[in-house]
Amino acid sequence: MSDIPALARGCAVLGTGGGGDVRTGSLAAARAIREYGEVPLVRLADLADDALIMPLSGIGAPTVSHEMIHSEDEPKRIAEEVERLFGRPPSAVMSSEIGGSNGVAPVAWAAQLGLPLLDADGMGRAFPEVQMVSMYVAGLPADLVIMTDVAGNVVTIRPVDGLWSERLARAVCVAAGSSALMADYVLPAARARGAVIEGTVTRALEIGRATEGASPTGAQAAGRSPADPLGALRDRLGAARLITGKLTDVERRTMGGFVRGTATIEGTGHDRGRTLTLELQNENLVAVENGRVLAMVPDLITVVDTETAGAIQTEGLRYGQRVTVLAWPCDPLWRTSKGLETAGPRAFGYELDYVPVEELTAHG
């Protein structure tokens, strides 16, 4: 695991507009690999049944983590606490969330610990809340959360359920200066089967490699990039193209503590005359054309630059950008009733019954 730029591009695509900027995590990962050596990528099947998997994620306010960057000692303290509690050290690090910065940073954390990275994560994309992970959907108890901060504090929480884990973790995070590293759902490999989404690190890498070398400054002419980065990306994702056009409006408003917004894309070329609106929170949640929903959470909706196929985060959306909106199916786990209850459209406040993206776009 050494191709950090490709992994970062892939994680940005899987971030579906959210998940945080991949830059700082990429720098940390590149540096940790130089310092501690490469990180082996292992599959769940490679691990012994009792091998402990340690899912890690950074939580907090993006403004803060962009300024008060993580300490290098944080993963070590969490690993030590895991060993104290379980009587054995963790065998692998797992990304809790493959989308955005939390998809790249685990490479740094694994390198610092000298551990392999598990080719899996807990979302297959990015979601904003602590309980929105596959382990919760699979019914594993959220009975242990370990957190640490830049100062060296270690907090172990034994919450009674997922809601309490979210509430208490937030409180600790604020006290720690609004940024912390967290492990939740530490679990032996035997219990991870069916409770994590496998193959997602490889998938992020492949997504990133599909658009390798694409840049807006004519790298294509230099023969270093695919002739059609957008087509390569669509093929790799198996994504439907919802629209290609120009971003003509981005509206943001604060609602219930979250920044909500709507982005409007007017079609160009083949799509001239069409208008797509995207409902955003941290992530792209629902795509609508003329009152007809074309895709909705938990399926993945990503806005990419039409020329380079690079993902654009929701806070990076600007008037005038030439963009293509892609949508593709989420992991089957999110389509179970517990999955939809956790992260379906109603979990985000939309009065919509979930319909899979492939059905919505099949007769378009």
Binding site: R31, G60, A61, S71, V150, V174, A175, G320
Partner: protein
């Protein structure tokens, strides 16, 4: 001769030309000149200065101010030349150790600039608590072991509280006698981008001293007793002392000067400005007479920085852009246009030729059309297509900058402004002010002095008091940059609420500006 009202000279060193103008006390342009920019930039500067002074005869003593906008700092970074060696010091440990200073820098720039890097204890949390007190012992050990021309200090959350950085500045000045660059004076939140800008700033101290030295020498040689100023990236001026401390602020002054000059010459304070040069066209937006600033981080020499820069869209289109069968540019004949373009008897078809063939000629040059003479049908077709392609590029770029508001007028400036069409869909009327070809030098000549503060303040009961303090600080910084204390005004105040914090907080940006003190 009786003492006549004072005069000011503005000079802008661009990529192709160095422009100079002289303004009288009423702000009228009474002399202007364009000279090629020389590799050793100061020669072009002297030539342009001499050209406008020649119009004055022996009344040079009436010139009281000279304002210079220069690309010296930008070029030094791009070419990795004349950069100082910087001791890079970050206060934040145990936080921030996962990404050390200069991570992600191009190797050659890092080699040219870094005298050593370290992270020591210090810095603040978002709520103002100390992460740790600054470790002065570790700072001394680090500085004892490096051979540096300057020190760059970045402390976590310093835009909200710069005292740790100031403490280090005192120590370094007193014990090591080195100049110090403080991150809270340079960039906003976002540690790595602010640190990068701070290191570049410290690396530019020598370049700044060279430029200011050359300017002072040029004035002295000509027996000018004018006060010199440098233009900065927001379209305002700073004293040489201020420029010596913040040389990185001169980066981006060229486009900012064009925008300010365009506003002044056209009398329009809200507009799209299109500045057509020899090799490229810069588009910017005037809001309240000042350049709209970029919301995104800006890359300089391969390094991401976060100090505020004008929001500029540059496209590869200029008067010297080469026209071919297959299309136009992106290459340009640059300053060789006076030999190579068809209208000058050369053999290269350029955008200037295409524009002239379409009946668009520079003001005062109606004879240019005749110079093209009879062209073959093939050439005529090619030039006609080039104009259509260029117009599409401009229309598209204007649309991107206008953000959907189509009523703003378009002010056309720069030596190649005649290339632009009479109407641009997506913008209001096209205004072509007099002296538009030297708008950037005019912008330098009329500039105000300014100061800014970018910080985090509590959103609760103490909010209004804290904002008043931030305004006072911005005004004090404007005065430090040369503004008249009695005429400083707050020209920009921006509040952005922050989420997920223990106490409600707002991010505040304040800018003050005022005319130069006499």
């Amino acid at each position: 001769m009786a003492d006549l009202p004072e005069l000011g000279i503005g000079i802008d060193v661009g990529g192709t030309n160095t422009d100079a103008v002289m303004l009288d006390a009423q702000g009228r342009v009474i002399a202007k000149a364009k000279r090629p920019t020389t590799p050793e930039v100061t020669e072009g500067l002297r030539a342009a200065l001499d050209a406008v002074l020649a119009e004055l005869g022996d009344a040079q003593h009436r010139v009281t101010r000279v304002m210079l906008g220069t690309t010296h700092a930008t070029n030094a970074i791009l070419e990795r030349r004349n950069l100082g060696r910087v001791a890079v010091l970050r206060l934040g440990a145990p936080a921030t150790t996962s990404v050390p200073p200069l991570s992600g820098w191009p190797d050659d720039l890092r080699k040219a600039v870094s005298a050593g890097e370290t992270i020591v204890a210090g810095g603040h949390y978002v709520d103002g608590r100390e992460i740790r007190p600054p470790d002065l012992g570790a700072i001394r050990r680090f500085l004892d072991g490096v051979d540096a021309d300057a020190v760059a200090v970045t402390s976590v959350f310093s835009p909200a509280g710069g005292e740790h950085e100031r403490l280090v500045e005192e120590l370094v000045r007193a014990e090591y006698g080195l100049p110090v660059s403080l991150s809270h004076e340079i960039g906003s939140l976002g540690l790595l981008e602010r640190e990068n800008a701070t290191v570049l700033n410290a690396a530019l101290y020598g370049v700044a001293a060279h430029v200011t030295g050359a300017l002072v020498a040029a004035l002295a040689e000509r027996d000018l007793r004018a006060r010199p100023y440098l233009a900065q990236n927001d379209g305002t001026l700073m004293t040489l002392e201020h420029a010596a401390r913040l040389p990185v602020s001169t980066i981006g002054s060229g486009p900012a000067n064009s925008l300010r000059g365009a506003a002044y010459l056209s009398g329009v304070t809200d507009a799209i400005v299109v500045d057509v040069g020899g090799t490229s066209t810069d588009l910017g937006v005037l809001a309240g007479g000042f350049p709209r600033e970029s919301a995104a981080a800006v890359e300089i020499g391969g390094v991401l920085t976060n100090f505020r820069m004008p929001d500029i869209l540059a496209i590869a289109l200029g008067g010297g852009t080469v026209v071919r069968e297959q299309g136009i540019g992106p290459d340009s004949v640059g300053y060789r246009i006076v030999r190579e373009a068809l209208v000058f008897g050369g053999s290269t078809a350029t955008m200037t030729d295409a524009a002239v063939a379409a009946g668009r000629t520079p003001p005062g040059e109606p004879g240019w059309r005749a110079r093209l003479g009879d062209m073959s049908e093939g050439i005529a077709d090619m030039l006609e297509r080039a104009v259509a392609v260029a117009d599409e590029m401009v229309i598209d770029a204007v649309d991107r900058m206008a953000l959907g508001k189509s009523d703003r007028p378009l002010v056309a400036v720069g030596g190649g402004a005649f290339v632009l069409p009479e109407r641009v869909p997506g913008a209001g009327p096209v205004i072509r002010p007099q002296h538009a070809e030297v708008a950037n030098a005019v912008g330098a000549a009329i500039a105000l002095a300014s100061g800014r503060v970018d910080t985090i303040l509590p959103a609760g009961d103490s909010r209004s008091e804290a904002i008043e303090k931030a305004k006072e600080e911005a005004a004090a910084r404007a005065v430090a940059a040369g503004a008249d204390p009695s005429a400083v005004e707050i020209v920009d105040l921006l509040e952005v609420p922050l989420s997920y914090l223990s106490e409600p907080a707002v991010r505040v940006h304040v800018k003050a500006a005022g005319p130069l003190a006499r």
